[in-house]
Assembly symmetry: C2
Homo-oligomer: 696 residues x 2
């Protein structure tokens, strides 16, 4: 048993495996930041009660669990948030049809309301039984009898089965002879911060990464991409990032990593897009088709099986990383590509064809297929992060699989699963385990569905519209067949305007959101948080997975098309303000609210000031944001903005200003600028008092 | 490598575990019957090419697979029949939402069109990768390029991914240090027969078990059950078996194994039902509630965890078996109970609550939870079979989980999953691995759905209507809410008559079906078979999973409500006759046929005679069937009927007559009776020639 840092302990059982999340980590523990958190010198009680056993099954760990205890975490979880009473299978699967715990990014880390978090440092498919069973004989005293016919309805039968007595947590780590277990102490938010700082702190995306994203039609050519880029600017649609889908490759499944004949002069295209302020992102996956220039070279450092005729590089070897990285650096990043989207690097038991490699596959690094499935997303992110870092370029990229200790990696998860309610839950749950999630707009049922989904992405970590199936933007035509036929909706102008309105809201919030990411980087507080993180003493919020905190002070309650124009919301104790209308609402209760299809209910904590930027069409290295301060309630409060170059790693050396907006007790607003970096915010205060600059 | 029997070989790798399907088997290999099959002295080629390896993962086996090879088996499979190109996870799960290989009764046994079958003798969760991958570098020669925009539609993308090159079969058996692998040689049907005879031969149900089954409303009382029994007889609805659902217990989940207050005089009820010709079947599950009389006694022989407040008896111990068996024998079987229905003895990862015990659970026998999940269905069947055998009573029972080597056990699988097309596929697939399956009629969308489902059960191994949710029979009211409210349909009389017609068809086919089961018992040929078993040389039938052979000569093509009144069928080469109309159809092609809601298309092989009984309302120990011979085509042919007491084990000592119906070249029909048992068939021949009796 070893104290690792403030509030973090480790128990080593037996001899841990060579490969595990901590052995491939590239970011050091942020000890200094951990020291700034509340001092926690006493180990969590549950740690003393942990029992374990080694057998041919691997290692089985048992911990006590109270009936009232609630459980969060386990990475990206689309089907549920509170895992008390459930079995969780921590196994990468791209399309779990049920609530099993599997996902694109399952993480063997949970947080209990009993005041602790637990992380199993392993790439094995771990089963967590979170209070599903009790000790034999626990129910000996029970003498109930069936008394009602109505017990024999289907729903009643299943309701009967829920355990109410003291339960056990059982963790089964298969195959291993040893493993490290980490304990984190504190309330929910504190445990999450500790886990993120242990991971190396949150990532800080470039400012443009927080702008609007658009992935173009899979059948695009160089000309159609440029035409689309022109159209966005002509119609004043804010747009920072364009993404190319599989069609840009000369072979996509598996990948050639070479431009298709549809893109004759890619370098020219990249430059033309750059001139218009666009950053280009390229779809790929990591399986290497025979026509890839580095096919022969990487073969030796690949797994023993092919997937879709392609090699599976072993990114746990330096050689495979170096071959892949060098090619990407030279052919793409040096040409101005700003990010990638790694697709289908996960696995699927539920799409039962030749999707991926077997769990038993051998890799040159001695990882097996199981470990590689759990590690590949992180290995790829580490590798790509390094490519960009070498070029001193901050990326903000996409990846379809991730895992443990991912917080410092500037990659956002996404999915093909499309369900809007699940996408909202994905944002809420991923924040427990150092993950970011994009609730992409893709297929929309109709125009109202488009608006509802857009509202959600505007209040997400990555505001992405993915039009891989349609040549024209969805605000021109939501119907896929008609869109493919080139037919625009009669109301295209109306929906273009309605969408632009939301894009501009996003651009207004860029500085606010950037501050949230700086907090994530500095102290591990996720930009998007379940209410239970900020209000852990409020029993009412323990199962709320369709509302969330966005940055420091906004509480977002998105609606989906199923909700039509009303939904129930819960606001914690205190006074809340409607972000758009200013309407005052007393919290501590559930209420039903109305929101027309062009409205999203967003609430502001009492006594808050929020910086609002004048929307720009895109972020460039010279962008200076004109900031107004939006006030809610009265009384002393402050908000810190951060200024740096927004796109290099200079901030890591402290090259970042703090701009502290303040409202005093009399309602006067002023600001102080600490630091000597170039000014990126032009702040209009509501009071005359001039701003002060403070050098540090 | 060891020759086990004619056409069966074993390879032992390392040291196999203590617990596996062959170590709990209660039926000896039927060597004599195996000797009667085609002599096979040459080992399958693939056996020589098998490679294996032991690691911390367990044992991984690799075999070659041709691109054209097709794969069947793996036990009950509701989602697909041909497993070529798929990963199969052999793990008990009650409600797999996707085509993973999991089911109520997965079996680690497959049959390849390459002329062999392979059985892994293990209770571990085995993964079979049936040609999902190729060796690294196999595709080196490929130089394709994306050339069409239309490749980027979703369906095209997935179609692109199917491997076409030479593949590998990879079998991963986790955790073990040793295992026995069995090879069976021959064409598909022969391999299935060998597997079934290796298992101990097929079961022979009592004749009444092949009659009509009805499970009553879960909220039934003694009086309502008796009233229903009266109604069936009054309305001349053939009915042999009544089943009681959870409500008969004083506590059901987990079980008290005691009558509820709703059944005041169960012994009297059983007798009254017996007098009317009914056999009674009791729902239960095997988890023991504290009020069960043997709770204290069985605690010591139970697993370390509770499920739903109940103990999980370890039926791999003699003690738990003996406690459970003695109670059942004394309290139920001696009183006249003729069978049980073991519910929810499977497991579920997809219903993520406290459904069952963890895989790591320890049992007194030293089985772990994983092994117990795979074994519990078979252990229970062995135990119950013994209880009935001790009383010299043949049972035909139900169970929701089964596994390897189950052929001799007179238990039928069922499910809560309700999908009619899947239920048909279940019949077809279960026949590959020694399992029986009941495509129960439960919830029906409407009256036509009721008819379609009824038509299927009439041509199944167990003709079961499960009305656990409705007090009145579905032919009185299909709507559940209205049925609960006691409201009958206006057309109740019409549907009562329509259903009776089908029940009578079932009763007409009882002797025919009984012969099919005797064949199952004697030579391992399943009563229901995929077309690929009988027509393995016809490439057209390799993926047909919605038609099947029923007994020796009938080919059944059920329709579902989705089909409305037409469907495509395929009939193999040769002349076929419509069973009901006599219409002649030339086979060897697909045709679209029409079948009104009150019709089911059933075809008869050319040159066939089929015994048709005058329908009885139920089978008693004195029943004598009046048989007419239905003729199809002309020419010499024969059909063998079997006579015994229909309900004891006397047949095992050879106390069974063969009654051989014959049609000679001139079209004259006669029969020969071999054996000296009591005559159960009164046969009306179409020719004058008197019958001969031949003593043996």
């Amino acid at each position: 048993m070893k104290a690792i840092a403030n509030g973090i302990w480790r128990i080593t059982i037996g001899e841990p495996e060579t490969w595990n999340p901590t052995s491939i980590r590239k970011f050091p523990v942020k000890n200094e930041a951990l020291e700034k958190l509340k001092k926690r010198k006493i180990k969590p009680e549950v740690m003393e009660q942990m029992q374990w056993e080694t057998s041919i099954r691997g290692i089985t760990i048992t911990l006590p669990m109270e009936a009232s205890e609630d459980i969060y975490g386990f990475g990206l979880q689309l089907k549920s948030m509170n895992h008390a009473g459930r079995k969780r299978i921590i196994k990468v699967n791209s399309d779990p049809p049920s609530d099993t715990g599997e996902s694109h990014a399952p993480v063997p880390f949970y947080i209990s309301t009993a005041g602790y978090g637990l992380f199993v440092d392993s790439f094995r498919y771990i089963s967590f039984y979170m209070g599903t069973v009790a000790e034999k004989g626990s129910s000996k005293h029970m003498q109930q009898e069936n008394i009602e016919h109505k017990e024999f309805s289907e729903s009643a039968l299943y309701a009967l089965k829920r355990a109410k007595e003291k339960r056990k947590i059982i963790i089964e780590i298969p195959r291993v002879k040893g493993v490290d277990i980490y304990f984190f102490t504190g309330d929910i938010k504190e445990v999450v911060q500790r886990y993120n700082l242990f991971s190396g702190g949150g990532c800080l995306p470039p400012m443009w990464g927080l702008g609007m994203w658009y992935r173009t039609y899979g059948g695009s050519s160089q000309d159609t991409v440029l035409e689309l880029a022109r159209l966005f600017r002509e119609e004043h649609m804010p747009m920072d990032v364009l993404g190319l889908e599989p069609g840009w490759h000369s072979h996509s499944y598996s990948c050639s990593y070479k431009w298709s004949y549809l893109f004759e002069k890619p370098q020219q295209m990249i430059q033309q897009l750059e001139q218009k302020g666009y950053k280009l992102n390229l779809w790929e996956h990591s399986y290497v088709y025979p026509t890839a220039p580095f096919y022969e070279q990487i073969m030796k450092y690949s797994g023993e099986c092919e997937v879709w005729n392609g090699l599976v590089p072993d990114f746990a070897t330096k050689e495979a990383c170096s071959i892949f990285a060098q090619y990407h650096q030279k052919e793409f990043v040096k040409l101005g590509i700003k990010g990638f989207k790694l697709d289908e690097c996960d696995n699927s038991d539920y799409n039962p064809s030749d999707w991926s490699f077997p769990d038993s596959t051998k890799f040159p690094s001695n990882m097996d297929g199981e470990q590689m499935h759990m590690a590949i997303g992180i290995l790829y992110q580490n590798l790509l992060y390094r490519v960009f870092k070498n070029e001193l370029v901050r990326t903000f990229s996409q990846v379809r699989s991730s895992g443990a200790l991912a917080a410092p990696l500037p990659f956002v998860l996404y999915s093909d699963l499309y369900d809007h309610k699940q996408f909202i839950r994905g944002m809420v749950t991923s924040g427990f385990s150092g993950l970011l999630w994009a609730p992409e707009v893709r297929d929309c049922l109709n125009e109202n569905d488009l608006l509802r989904r857009l509202q959600t992405i505007v209040f997400s970590e990555q505001a992405l519209i993915n039009s891989w199936r349609i040549p024209s933007p969805p605000w021109k035509q939501v119907d896929i067949e008609k869109n493919l036929a080139g037919e625009w909706m009669e109301e295209a102008t109306y929906y273009t305007n309605a969408c632009r309105k939301y894009f501009e809201i996003r651009m207004q919030l860029l500085p606010y959101l950037y501050s949230a990411f700086v907090e994530y980087y500095q102290n591990g507080t996720p930009p998007i948080r379940a209410l239970v993180m900020d209000y852990s003493n409020d029993e009412q919020v323990r199962n709320i997975d369709d509302e969330y905190m966005f940055g420091k002070s906004l509480l977002v309650c998105p609606l989906t098309i199923e909700d039509k124009i009303t939904r129930q919301i819960y606001l914690p104790e205190g006074v809340w303000y409607h972000f758009f209308t200013g309407e005052v609402i007393q919290g501590g209760k559930s209420i039903t609210i109305k929101a027309d299809y062009d409205q999203i209910p967003v609430y502001v904590r009492e006594n808050t000031i929020i910086p609002i930027a004048k929307p720009v069409l895109y972020v460039s290295k010279d962008t200076v944001f004109e900031i107004k301060v939006k006030e809610f309630g009265t009384g002393e409060t402050q908000f810190t903005l951060y200024e740096d170059d927004y796109e290099t790693f200079s901030y890591e050396k402290g090259n970042m200003n703090e701009v502290i907006l303040q409202r005093d007790a009399r309602g006067n607003i002023s600001y102080i600028r600490k630091g000597c970096q170039k000014e990126r915010y032009k702040i209009q205060c509501s009071v005359k008092e001039s701003s002060k600059r403070q050098e540090i």
